[in-house]
């Protein structure tokens, strides 16, 4: 595999056809027809859930601009992109959403061939890392200057330079992770915590006590997305570790880390045992199986939209080292092989307009990367989520983590270390220190293989990041 996968599960977006949506379809008696062709062999099991959004159709059309994206892959989101968000753009755009693997293959292949059909690519910071390294992307510094009035978050422009001079992408949209709770759970809040405190001062210990109270009265109703496509590893990397230890890789096995794992193993007693099949938390929240959940904003928005009166959104808790959180930035780039760079630039200009950013937020619940007030006419659920996101980054003790940087192909292996540690410590109840010692070696070999330097919240530096 000569290309980078950059975290194949680092999917911002919900899976195209979620399991329960399929279940609903099955209930309507259409299952046999709809599903018959979905999967037939190895490799088909997980991917059909995510595909379908963007089957590459004819793309050498000449006058239509091809927009290839790892974002907005779910069918509904892709349709909103095509039908609503892109509606006012002058010119034909063919929006194709693709899994990270095929996305990488296509860009790399077009670069190798020296000519391509893809005009604009959309992806996460991590998706572009290897392209940036290989110099496959056009420098967009001049476009950023032209679009100065957009007020891009300076930090995000900095990210797009990957430590160099070339601006590889223009910030497009952002998301993060928050918590959502059912209002029925509020009566079980521990002493000293009220609804206002949830927004500003909830700690991990209080969260565990709260879930314990709910458990005593109603059963295990805490929820984490620990299923096949769930983002539990992001909880560990961007929330648990930073909040308890102030780092990730450099603090992987220290005493603080042991405390974090002990907290998690304790809190897991109150987690719904079906969590190992949860990919998105919106569905268990809607069904009432889960009352308190942590997940990606795009994977919670479905529940908040549907029942804004019954659910509340709030920031993740804080630990001894602060409120660790992980913003997710997506950007727009132009490959050097783009057939019509001018058209590509005008599409980026269009997508970063304030009104289009507002439409994006309203339709697919990804937040603007530009300055300015949020539009006032947001649906109630989106509003609630937006407030929790803003509350997170505005918290005084907020401690920002980046998605893993520079791992390339090793993204999945990196996540596996955290998943395996989780399974061994939390599910199988093995000795925390022993497991961490063992997994620290695996973690170091992943970082060595990728030759990755440390990233926030670990102290950034030269050379391969050393596990501590």
């Amino acid at each position: 595999m000569g290309h980078s996968s950059s975290d194949s599960d680092l999917r911002l977006s919900r899976r195209a056809i979620t399991r329960r949506n399929l279940v609903r379809a099955a209930g309507l008696g259409t299952a046999g027809l709809a599903l018959g062709g979905l999967a037939s062999g190895p490799g088909a099991a997980a991917s059909p859930l995510g595909r379908g959004a963007g089957f590459p159709r004819r793309s050498q059309d000449g006058d239509s601009l091809v927009f290839l994206s790892t974002q907005l892959r779910p069918v509904e989101e892709a349709e909103k992109m095509r039908g609503t968000i892109l509606a006012d753009f002058e010119g034909e755009v063919e929006f194709i959403a693709e899994d990270t693997g095929p996305f990488n293959d296509r860009i790399a292949a077009e670069a190798e061939a020296g000519e391509g059909s893809v005009g604009v690519i959309g992806g996460q910071h991590g998706d572009f890392a290897s392209f940036a390294q290989d110099g496959l992307l056009t420098d967009l510094s001049d476009l950023a200057t032209e679009l100065q009035d957009r007020g891009f978050v300076e930090q995000y422009l900095e990210l797009g330079r990957y430590g160099g001079e070339v601006l590889n992408y223009i910030p497009w949209m952002q998301a993060t992770y928050v918590m959502v709770a059912n209002r029925e759970a509020l009566e079980y809040l521990p002493d000293g915590v009220d609804e206002a405190a949830l927004q500003t001062s909830l700690t991990y210990d209080q969260l565990a006590t709260w879930a314990g109270n709910v458990n005593e009265a109603e059963g295990q109703k805490l929820g984490f997305p620990a299923g096949e496509d769930g983002l539990l590893h992001r909880f560990l990397q961007g929330y648990g570790y930073p909040s308890f230890t102030g780092g990730v890789n450099t603090t992987f096995q220290n005493d603080d880390a042991v405390a974090m794992w002990e907290w998690f193993a304790g809190a897991w007693e109150f987690v719904n045992p079906q969590a190992l099949s949860y990919n998105n938390m919106d569905e268990p929240l809607l069904s009432g199986e889960v009352w308190i959940a942590w997940d990606h904003t795009a994977r919670l928005i479905g529940a908040l939209r549907e029942r804004p009166d019954d659910l509340i959104a709030f920031p993740a808790p804080r630990g001894p080292k602060g409120l660790g959180y992980m913003p997710v930035v997506a950007g727009l780039a132009i490959p050097k092989s783009a057939p019509d760079p001018e058209a590509a630039r005008s599409l980026i200009e269009y997508l970063t307009r304030p009104e289009v950013q507002a439409t994006t937020l309203r339709e697919v619940a990804f937040f603007p990367t530009t300055a300015g007030e949020l539009p006032g006419d947001l649906p109630e659920g989106v509003q609630a989520e937006a407030a929790a996101v803003l509350q997170t980054s505005a918290s005084e003790d907020a401690l920002q983590s980046l998605l893993p940087v520079g791992l390339g192909d090793q993204g999945g292996a990196y996540n596996k270390v955290f998943r395996d540690a989780f399974q061994s410590i939390v599910l199988d109840g093995n000795d925390v220190r022993e497991v961490l010692t063992e997994q620290a070696a695996n973690l170091q070999s992943v970082l060595d293989a990728a030759q990755a330097a440390c990233w926030l919240p670990d102290p950034e530096g030269e050379g391969v990041c050393q596990v501590g």
Binding site: G32, L38, E289, Q423
Partner: protein, 285 residues
Amino acid sequence: MNRQRFGWAPYALLLPSLAYLAVFFAAPMVQAFGLAFQDDGGNWSLASWRAMFTDAQFREALVTTLILIVIIIPVQFALALAMALVLNAKPRWPGLWLYLYAIPLGVSELAAGILWFAVFTQQGWLNSILEGLGLLDRPFIFLDYENQGWLILTIVLAEAWRATSIIMIILVAGLQGIPRDYVEAADVFGATFGQKVRRVILPLLRPSIQVALILRTILAFQAFAVVIALAGQGMTVLSAEAYRWYSDYRDPHVAAAYAGFILLLSVFSTVLFLWLLPVRQEQAT
């Protein structure tokens, strides 16, 4: 005589399917084995196999795969045999029965897993029905990773539902090849139904049983969509690990090692069945 009459024609007719097998089965298989014994730089190495054997998930995946096979295959055989005997007894509307039994064959593995997930999930059909009947106060969690027994039971049910009919069809074909005379002769001697099945039908069915067993076991080693749909990360099997190593961890070498290991297990089980259920030459045709 025959050879002279047909000349090269039979071989020419075999050629397309041989070419197909060579291109789409043999070549990828050789390549996969090659991958498993190479490292990233293309050097020969056992590193992938070592990575597989020391992988935290390997043991669980192997044990679960074997448990599932040991439970599923006998259950499916009993069911398939019963279904085949029903069909062979020439019931009224034989076509209807056949189609009913064969419906799951048309449903993909993943879809079957999702259907059964809808049955067993916390707010699923089974819990709704049990609650509706007043048998449960609050939903029972069947898909609980702490209770591997339930997980295995649901997977066995889903697999039995999905893949029993393929065995049934092989057995029905076999049953139809058994001359009526034998069964009638047994009738004349006053054999009971059980005696007829045990002494006449099953022995004559041996070639079909052997084929069905081999086929089904190989398929069972490959099954994983049902497991992922029902158990998520709560349970793992060998083929699921092969898939993850390839698509998530992006290491085709370890994935190939897993695939090669599955192939070795399949070959071993095939040889085992051939040895346990020898078919005499005159039966084999």
